[in-house]
Symmetry: C2
Subunit: 198 residues, 2 copies
DNA sequence: CAGCGTGTTGACCGTACGGTCCAGAACGAA
DNA sequence: TTCGTTCTGGACCGTACGGTCAACACGCTG
């Protein structure tokens, strides 16, 4: 390596993530990315390839982050699986609490915009959803073992339901439906899963 | 009116809807719209204004359609409200049944792409979601009156939950998660609402 | 049948797009 | 210090974008 890179790849990816996240794929120009990353076209192109490749890289990193984040949350300090599940849905409510439309999950935006026409995006989305469902399932089973969720519930089905509710809350957050609606959704979903009200 | 229009406005809007629906707003060019509608730029521009105005027009029509569609379905021939609710979720499952990612609801795509930056889109989305929730609520109340849903459920909360689940199923459909997952989601949501399995 | 006002058409405009390329800068290796 | 290699910045390219406009076509009105 004759001349070392001047930039930190992680930081550049972070800036690019923010830009794509705010504007979407098609509405983000290379100029936007250059401005956000403070990199010239040559560097951007040389390091990551074209716009599509950079987006895929960004999306992959984002998906890895949210699965790792959920995994960490679910193995976090909270004492019981039931408490952790409630905290998870509280976070989803809080994300949509401010008035007006909120920036939704990048994966949701990317899937809506690109999954139908871009196989790699669709594959990554499916894989991520599947992993999230798996993590939720483990948590449901853990709550069942602790006696906080009745044992007769099918953990797989319950996890799928919770995943769908979380994605639906994302959609309602995008539109800015407001906290009380999200509160209704979260409460109902948790009761449906067999958890008692906090 | 010296010279009458050669085209049918509804048909042009239908073609434009298909085009935006398939590609999204930013990824649809005026050339795409011209090809789809068989109209020249001038006509398109003269009749509907610029691309954004046309999209808004398309989205408004689409939202009116789906609310009218749901309203019609819920006052349809099926005997009971419970049966109609089940049929509604069966439709959502069927929409995601084919393997691979399916084209999701235009409203979902538009909200994900534009709601954060375009107030009118966000307003339309909120309004539509609110109307859908209202229709679902009426149906829940109807099912309660018929004794198919326990009377102690809060119809508002239940409707919000069902709405979120439907939007979540959209998201999973976009990614192509497959029929069995959607089946799990729908079944669990309906049981959660208090309906017995079909 | 004449005239007017609208609708249609497609050429045209300026711009911004994604992408390429190269001259020079920076740095490690010898 | 010199050389070789990589990285950098930005000039440059062809294209396609959204949007405008003027000339023409059409048909209703009187």
């Amino acid at each position: 390596m004759a001349r070392p890179r001047k930039f930190d790849e992680q930081q550049v990816l972070h800036s690019a993530t923010e830009t794509f996240w705010t504007s979407g794929f098609a509405a983000t120009s290379l100029d936007d990315l250059m401005r956000a990353t403070s990199l010239g076209k040559g560097s951007l192109y040389g390091a990551f390839g074209d716009k599509q490749a950079l987006f895929q890289r960004v999306l992959d990193g984002y998906c890895a982050n949210i699965t790792a984040g959920l995994s960490k949350h679910l193995s976090g300090p909270d004492s019981s699986a039931a408490t952790r599940l409630r905290a998870l849905f509280d976070m989803a409510v809080a994300a949509g609490a401010p008035p007006g439309p909120q920036r939704a999950c990048l994966l949701a935006k990317a899937t809506a915009e690109l999954a139908a026409t871009n196989t790699e995006v669709a594959v990554r989305a499916r894989q991520t959803f599947t992993m999230l469902a798996g993590l939720l399932r483990a948590e449901v089973e853990s709550a069942q073992a602790a006696g906080d969720i009745p044992g007769d519930r099918d953990p797989q089905r319950t996890a799928h339901h919770l995943l769908a509710v979380l994605r639906g809350m994302e959609a309602l957050t995008e539109a800015g439906m407001g906290e009380s609606v999200l509160r209704d959704v979260a409460d109902t979903a948790l009761v449906a899963a067999g958890l008692q009200q906090a």
